[in-house]
């Protein structure tokens, strides 16, 4: 069995106390809990402090460009559906520059997992306002306080058609590990919003701030994650109360079943040595 040490690579360069350490650890725990093989796991990221996670994780990784990790992750999964694809990144990466891709990844419902490390601030560029920053949040680019309404990532995921939506917290690495494991296990697009505090550039949304607002969904009497209406209501209240656990899940057809060939071998692993193998397709096509 793998250990977190087996799954570690280099020493992270995050600031001491950064929430992202716990996310890295939780991803490793999920891989271990599910018994995934290193070579069959791919971690894809964009750009930002959180997107450096694959640098420190010893599985196949792809550190791509800012905001575009999801389409890369979708391509990886479609090329080889046997792979477990975990996409990670921050709130600027995923909900500013990459917001369009998020909506389409959710509605496309390819079987990948997206772990958003949401610290409500731009950190790698040293402290600017983010699309998830609270109103009034003062930064170098919002000296009078952020004016724009923050993106409610959970609500957006639900309305865009994500088939698994969860919320976690860096203070609860055990809970987060299980949540990521459940998301990876889910067949379809799974999304987890992780409250992962930036201790250097966000003095508002701190560990204590989140702790005060957080509550566990499993302790809510009668909470039913299969209820879309209940999930919408829970997500809508996110700015006042932060739910921890699975908000929503449902089973529906995933992209691969609809659009992919019925070939038993994944596209990436097929033998392509014979160029004339599909020559009949030319004849068929030209007849029409």
């Amino acid at each position: 069995m793998l250990t977190t040490k087996d799954l570690s690579y280099d020493k992270p360069t995050w600031c001491p106390g950064c929430g992202h350490f716990a996310v890295l650890n939780a991803v490793q725990r999920a891989i271990i809990e599910l018994g995934l093989r290193k070579e069959e796991t791919v971690c894809v990221s964009g750009i930002g402090c959180s997107s450096k996670l694959p640098e420190y994780l010893d599985v196949y990784g792809f550190h791509t460009i800012h905001g575009r990790s999801l389409p890369h992750a979708e391509g990886v999964k479609l090329a080889n559906p046997r792979l477990n694809v975990i996409n990670v990144g921050g709130d600027g990466d995923g909900f500013a520059i990459g917001c369009g891709h998020f909506v389409h990844a959710a509605r496309r419902n390819i079987d990948i997992t997206y772990v958003l490390m949401n610290n409500q601030v731009y950190s790698l560029t040293k402290g600017q306002t983010s699309p998830t920053s609270d109103r009034g949040f003062i930064t170098k680019t919002s000296p009078e306080g952020a004016e724009e309404a923050p993106v409610n990532t959970l609500l957006m995921a639900l309305t865009a058609g994500a088939t698994f939506v969860g919320c976690g917290f860096s203070s609860d690495v055990t809970g987060l590990g299980s949540l990521i494991a459940a998301a990876v296990k889910h067949k379809g697009f799974s999304f987890i919003n992780v409250m992962s505090p930036c201790v250097t550039f966000n003095k508002l949304n701190t560990y204590d701030y989140y702790k005060k607002q957080a509550y566990k969904l499993e302790e809510e009497p009668g909470y039913d994650p299969f209820s879309y209406e209940k999930a919408l209501e829970t997500a809508a209240a996110y700015f006042e109360r932060k739910p921890l656990g699975v908000l929503f899940k449902c089973e529906t057809s995933v992209f691969k079943e609809v659009h992919m060939s019925s070939h038993p071998v994944p596209p990436a692993l097929q033998d392509i040595s014979d160029p004339a193998k599909h020559m009949h397709l030319m004849d068929q096509y030209l007849r029409h």
Partner: protein, 586 residues
């Protein structure tokens, strides 16, 4: 060589059915064993606006449009404005009086004008005007004395499978009505149909976009992500229907950025992967092209060029993306850029683009153009035996796990090409990285190592110059000539024919032609040899800024010999236009 050529132009409004009638006519001519190429001129909208479909029929294989018209069919008055200047001596013009009230006749040429009420004939015989185009096809068949056998075959190939026997029968009757009406006209003349020399059994009729798609499938492509855009859309449409049958997957992306990123993801995962687009799409893909270069991921990008900048002319043709393909994206990006000039090259270069992408682990951009992408050409059947698959330094799991071997994804190698592993392979676990990285793939900012890995990446493109999968320059014309012509893409066949036209008209020879097929890496040696043996070299291209000429000047100190011949009106060069330019400037 072409010795007989007839050009037909059919003009009408978008929605008149001009394009679908043109397609049926193509099948009729194709059935006769003639050479053929089409030239569609249509607006970027679904209804309204002048549309024309020109078909050039030749005795031998033909590759470029004609700018002279023998038969003009006018469904509207605008047809005269668009085509009068093309009419040849002896041309036949037919118009439908339903919509054509004023005929703008040409002067100084002997042109015969005939009125045929296509719509009325259709209504009288079939109770609706739907068959007016088929009646029109009959008139053309009568002018050219096309055999019944070829007419029936052409119609059956176009209609039978899709619409059934009854529709076929009605169409054949409408065609017959057209033939009879034309034959009954007083003074109705005939033109000689070129006697087809093209091998009927083996020949195919195909567009550049279709040829690219078949090349991709032959080249082992298993993944495409794309976003619809003129004039590249048909590649993606055809891939969506064919690729699942060939074991692959197609994904319609939300934009071109996502399209290329998904293709890069699939390439990293080990599938031969591609996207198809046009200039505006390449603009959006610029950053990801750099990622594929830095992270060394194989991916093939087809750019069916249209005139820019911005939205430009979506349904017209140009060669204005050359600089864009060569230089887009920040930093030093290793890449390969190819240009295809015929449907055969579309097939062959696409298949080889996948070899080059995997061998050199970089993005490969294949440039085509709207004129080549969306027009039909009769060609010899594609030769699959010429295609081979080479996956470069992609290691097997056994190789990765050989005792004592330590896999380094970005290992510094003499040829700049490092060994490659794909997810699912044990022993190959690594980080693929768009951040500057070490041989392992992990991030670094070490100045010495940054220099070293940049050198390694850029070295690959130099190495690609000696690859057997990289298309070489091609030469035509008189090898000892002192006047040279350099061209790429669709201008090449037009230039080749232009030289024949000059010889036939003036008896003058002494032109040699060099076709550039790989723009990056650039064949310095061949180009230098060619140009150094010329006194003057015409560089023919479809853009304003003389990009091909600029590229040559960037590579070679031959500035004073080069003369640019440019066209950027959205319409491709015809052979006659090039011939005129060569004689005029000389």
């Amino acid at each position: 060589m072409i010795s007989e050529s007839i050009n037909i132009a059919i003009g009408g409004e978008a929605g008149d059915g001009v394009l679908s009638a043109g397609e049926i006519l193509c099948k009729v001519f194709y059935a006769s064993g003639a050479g053929l190429c089409t030239y569609k001129n249509f607006p970027s909208r679904i209804r309204g606006g002048h549309t024309s479909y020109s078909i050039r029929i030749t005795d031998d294989i033909c590759r470029s449009r004609s700018c002279e018209t023998d038969i003009l069919i006018a469904f509207d008055e605008e047809s005269f404005a668009f085509h009068n200047h093309e009419l040849k001596d002896g041309a036949i013009v037919i118009y439908d009086p339903a919509r054509v009230k004023n005929i703008a006749k040409v002067s100084g040429k002997s042109v015969s004008y005939f009125e045929i009420p296509f719509s009325d004939i259709s209504v009288k015989n079939f109770a609706k005007p739907l068959y007016k185009n088929t009646v029109m096809i009959g008139a053309i068949a009568a002018i050219l004395n096309i055999s019944k056998e070829h007419i029936e075959k052409g119609f059956a190939d176009s209609i039978k499978a899709k619409k059934g026997d009854d529709v076929l029968k009605t169409n054949l009757a409408a065609c017959e009505a057209g033939i009879n009406y034309y034959r009954g006209l007083r003074g109705a003349g005939h033109l000689k149909m070129p006697a087809g020399k093209v091998e009927g059994g083996g020949a195919i009729m195909i567009t550049g976009n279709e040829a690219v798609t078949l090349g991709a499938i032959a080249g082992g492509c298993k993944f495409i992500a794309a976003y619809p855009i003129s004039p590249a859309t048909e590649i993606f449409e055809m891939m969506c229907s064919l690729l699942p049958k060939a074991g692959g997957t197609a994904m319609q992306a939300e934009d071109e950025i996502a399209a290329l990123c998904a293709a890069i993801g699939a390439g990293f995962a080990g599938a031969r992967s591609m996207t198809s687009t046009s200039g505006p799409g390449i603009s959006l893909m610029a950053e990801a092209i750099g990622l594929a270069g830095c992270a060394e991921v194989p991916v093939v990008i087809i750019d069916a060029q249209r005139p820019g900048p911005s939205t430009g002319l979506p349904t017209k043709t140009e060669q204005g993306d050359l600089y864009h393909a060569l230089f887009c994206s920040h930093g030093d990006v290793p890449r390969i850029v190819l240009s295809a000039s015929t449907v055969e090259e579309c097939f062959e270069f696409t298949a080889n683009a996948f070899n080059l992408a995997e061998i050199y682990q970089c993005p490969v951009i294949l440039l085509t153009e709207q004129v080549l992408a969306q027009n039909k050409y009769v060609a010899g059947k594609f030769d699959y035996s010429k295609i081979e698959i080479n996956r470069g330094k992609l290691l097997s799991e056994a190789e990765l796990n050989e005792p004592g071997y330590k896999f380094l994804r970005y290992e510094y190698c003499e040829d700049g090409v490092s060994p490659r592993a794909i997810p699912s392979q044990a022993g190959g676990v690594h980080l693929c990285n768009g951040n500057e990285h070490l041989e392992t793939g992990r991030i670094t900012e070490n100045p010495a190592l940054r220099t070293k890995i940049t050198d390694k990446r850029m070295k690959k493109i130099e190495s690609a110059l000696s690859s057997k999968y990289l298309p070489r320059p091609k030469y035509y014309g008189d090898a000892d000539a002192r006047i040279g012509v350099v061209a790429m893409g669709s201008n090449v066949p037009a230039a080749v024919e232009a030289v024949d036209i000059i010889a036939a008209k003036t008896g003058r020879r002494g032109f040699k032609i060099m076709q550039l097929t790989s723009l990056m890496p650039f064949c310095d040696k061949e180009a230098s040899d060619f140009i150094s043996k010329c006194d003057k070299v015409f560089v023919i291209e479809n853009n304003h800024s003389a990009q091909l000429c600029g590229l040559i000047k960037m590579r070679l100190p031959v500035h004073e010999k080069l003369v640019s011949v440019l066209k950027y009106d959205g319409i491709s060069f015809s052979a006659a236009e090039i011939a005129e330019k060569l004689m005029e400037v000389d």
